[in-house]
């Protein structure tokens, strides 16, 4: 028994299509590319810091997003963002199927561009099939070479475009081409060029079917009310199945009398599918819900003069003659969770203190007795100026009567914009004779001398001999 060691990819040569969803996809693609490639070039004026609107400054541990500067301490925002992203995915998938896959996924977007280039260079589907089957000659070498060259160019632009988010864009481009950029820039660009070329050019739908886990668990997010791209089997097949518009089967009336459905078995929906499936076989793991088959089928229906929607976004319930219910516990639940987390995130971003203070009590030793009978505790107060202004700070102890603050000889605490420092503070306190508790709460109040920022209070404690 001979058997191949591996299975080669079955080549897919999708036909181009025009229609509502195709236009929507082009619109989203255009917007996404515009944002991705142009955003790093947008300049932004700041009192201090770089003049790039969006910059992820790793060496200085700072993310600049327009007027918002994100510090390492704000990393939990990322958790909120990820939760929103995950919930949004569940929410949207529950409602409208894999719209993320079909319209927004990078794999889909970049593959779309690659197919566009392929079509411009090699021609429409029949030409491409012919080219792929013909033996190697000048034409094939030239056309395939040009295709791969254009793919590599887009891949390189993608890699470099990504790198520009991590450094000043104009400087970066200049340094990149004069060989002065950081090692990481070349490595990242190279890696992204390679992966983009491989995934969008060579692997394509295999990424969706074999590598992406999303297809595998879509079924747990779907229910009978989820809008999915589906073929109306009842209408398309009728009693006697689908049939080509042969003689006596041309008009809708003739077909219905013969028991034949509306599907004329033209295969257009199969030819346009970027993952190479036949939607008429029902919902499949490979289907990314890009709706190009809807456009294809609508075009055919229009030509026949029959109503559109033989393939359409619909739910299982609707297909069986019921009604699609959108307001369900699941959607409401996901929606509420998104709203709550989103509100919390926005509130957190808006109410972030401009002066970040953190007090940690020195624990070795926790307390010490001084010559005058008082007890001394030491603290390290970390201060972080998140504003774009110079702050002149004063530290006080509040909330504990009779506690003395000692900063040694440090009198001026001046923080330059975005500067951090740690101040050593000692607090002395005369415990009441007999029976004070072993710890007393106290607060450090950090006040800006000119009132540029709100005073910050940080709670801590004073430990006494038990």
């Amino acid at each position: 028994m001979s058997q191949p060691l591996y299975q080669a990819r079955i080549p897919i040569h999708p036909r181009s299509v025009e229609g509502r969803f195709r236009n929507l996809k082009y619109g989203i693609l255009f917007l996404a590319y515009a944002v991705f490639f142009l955003l790093p070039w947008l300049r932004w004026e700041r009192e201090t810091g770089p003049s790039q609107a969006v910059l992820f400054d790793i060496p200085h541990r700072r993310f600049y997003l327009f007027d918002l500067i994100v510090y390492p301490q704000d990393i939990f925002w990322l958790a909120g963002l990820l939760m929103i992203a995950a919930l949004l995915l569940f929410f949207v998938t529950g409602l409208a199927g894999r719209v993320f896959c079909g319209y927004f996924c990078f794999q889909t977007l970049w593959t779309d561009v690659y197919m566009f280039l392929e079509r411009r260079i090699q021609g429409e589907r029949p030409a491409r099939i012919r080219l792929s089957n013909q033996p190697w000659n000048a034409e094939k070498i030239l056309k395939l070479g040009a295709t791969h060259a254009s793919w590599l160019l887009v891949a390189f632009a993608t890699g470099l475009g990504f790198v520009l988010y991590w450094a000043d864009a104009p400087t970066m481009v200049r340094e990149f081409f004069t060989g002065q950029a950081a090692h990481a820039a070349y490595v990242t660009t190279g890696l992204l060029t390679l992966t983009t070329y491989t995934f969008a050019g060579l692997a394509r739908e295999q990424v969706c079917t074999y590598m992406c886990p999303y297809a595998r668990f879509q079924s747990v997010m779907f229910d009978r009310d989820t809008l999915i791209v589906s073929y109306d089997r009842a209408r398309g097949e009728g009693m006697a199945g689908r049939a080509k518009p042969a003689r006596d089967l041309r008009s809708r009336d003739e077909r219905q009398q013969a028991g034949v459905g509306d599907c004329i078995d033209c295969g257009y929906c199969v030819q346009v599918c970027p993952t190479g499936i036949d939607i008429r076989n029902g919902l499949q793991i490979e289907c990314i819900h890009c709706a190009l088959c809807i456009d294809a089928c609508d075009a055919i229906m229009d030509k026949q003069g029959w109503p559109r929607g033989l393939i359409r976004y619909t739910s299982e319930n609707a297909l069986e003659g019921g009604k699609t219910r959108f307001l369900k516990l699941k959607t409401v639940g996901y929606g509420t969770a998104i709203l709550i987390i989103g509100t919390l995130l926005v509130l957190s971003v808006l109410h972030r203190p401009e002066l970040d203070a953190n007090v940690s009590q020195v624990r070795q030793p926790l307390f010490v007795q001084m010559a005058d009978g008082s007890t001394q505790n030491s603290y390290e107060i970390a201060l972080n100026n998140k504003t774009q202004r110079r702050l002149d700070l004063e530290i006080r102890v509040v909330g504990l009567e009779g506690a003395d603050l000692d900063l040694g000889r440090v009198e001026e605490i001046v923080l330059e914009p975005t500067q951090r420092t740690t101040v050593l503070a000692r607090v002395r306190y005369h415990p009441e004779p007999g029976g004070s508790p072993s710890r007393l709460p106290l607060e450090f109040e950090i006040v800006e001398r000119e009132g540029l920022v709100e005073p910050v209070r940080v709670g801590s404690q004073l430990s006494l001999r038990p």
Partner: protein, 309 residues
């Protein structure tokens, strides 16, 4: 039970292993996808590249070393050797970004005078961070992490009992030259009753409620020629930093565990025992082991621990 029948296969259908369970449950025999196979080849290539670059195979009592990729200075000479974490650490300590930054800050603080260091937030922030490490290396073995000391053995650096003085000059002197502390034992001079009288007197100075008679007698011994304690500790027992003689009136006990005693009787016994035996202690000099800059940073750190003068 599985039966071994290979059901007839239509062209284009996936091959099965031929095993059939429960009438119709079959096992597909799909070939591997090509991308998977290429992924596997890539791991083989990776392994070969890795083998060339890094230490990999044990050979007898040695191993293949890989390429020499890590460069560092050793005894003033540049040395390049194969990748290993020790060489990497040496390289990083010499030319790593943070190591260089730390060295620069250290030099900057080393050039400041104490008044500037102690009043400067950033310098003190660095002193605290850097000297915590030096303190852990050189001082914590005796003075304990954080400088809390051990009663009877090593002084507490967190309180403000400065036997040898708490000014920066005095702390630096202690670090550079070390200190030799000596209190003579009184076993030949004083009998046990007198020892207890002195002990009672010293405890009374620290607000312990002692009997009047022994206290008065103890005061006489302390301030008189019999004991002569005042010569070091002073007439009012305030101590004398030039002798390293501690203040005996502030209830801070570095050498006698008075706070740990259960009652007055035990306190008196502990102090009396100490006076009888005396003590000699040495703090080693660090001038040979630490650079002036490191001593400067450590001095500022110790000064900040308890609130130096």
């Amino acid at each position: 039970m599985s039966t071994n029948e290979n059901p007839s296969k239509k062209p284009g259908e996936v091959e099965t292993t031929g095993h059939v369970w429960d009438a119709n449950l079959q096992e597909y025999n799909n070939p591997l996808p090509r991308w998977w196979l290429w992924g596997f080849y890539a791991t083989v290539v990776f392994a070969v590249v890795y083998w060339i670059l890094y230490p990999a195979w044990p050979v007898g009592d040695t191993f293949t070393k890989g390429l020499n990729t890590v460069t560092f200075m050793e005894d003033g000479e540049e040395r390049t050797m194969h990748w290993n974490t020790r060489a990497l650490l040496t390289h990083d300590m010499q030319s790593g970004k943070h190591a260089v930054r730390q060295r620069e800050m250290l030099e900057r603080v080393g050039e400041m005078d104490y008044d500037t260091i102690l009043a400067d937030v950033d310098a003190m922030s660095f002193v605290n961070a850097y000297a915590k490490g030096s303190f852990g290396t050189w001082c914590a073995a005796c003075h304990q992490t954080g400088g809390a000391g051990v009663i009877g053995l090593y002084p507490n650096l967190r309180n403000d009992q400065w036997k040898w003085g708490g000014t920066v000059a005095e702390i630096e002197e202690t670090l550079v030259n070390g200190r030799l502390g000596y209190m003579p034992g009184y076993r030949e001079t004083l009998n046990s009753e007198q020892l207890e009288q002195v002990a009672s007197y010293v405890l009374s100075l620290n607000n312990y409620d002692m009997d009047g008679d022994p206290v008065a007698a103890g005061a006489e011994i302390f301030t008189g020629h019999l004991g002569g304690c005042f010569q070091c500790h002073g007439m009012d027992a305030q101590g004398l930093t030039s002798q390293g003689a501690p203040n005996l009136s502030n209830n801070l006990w570095a050498l006698v565990d008075v706070p740990g005693a259960a009652d007055d009787e035990e306190r008196v016994a502990r102090v009396a025992e100490f006076v009888r035996d005396g003590i000699q202690r040495e703090m080693p000099a660090f001038a040979d082991r630490l650079s002036p800059t490191e001593i400067r940073v450590l001095t500022a750190y110790v000064h900040s621990l308890g609130g130096g003068q």
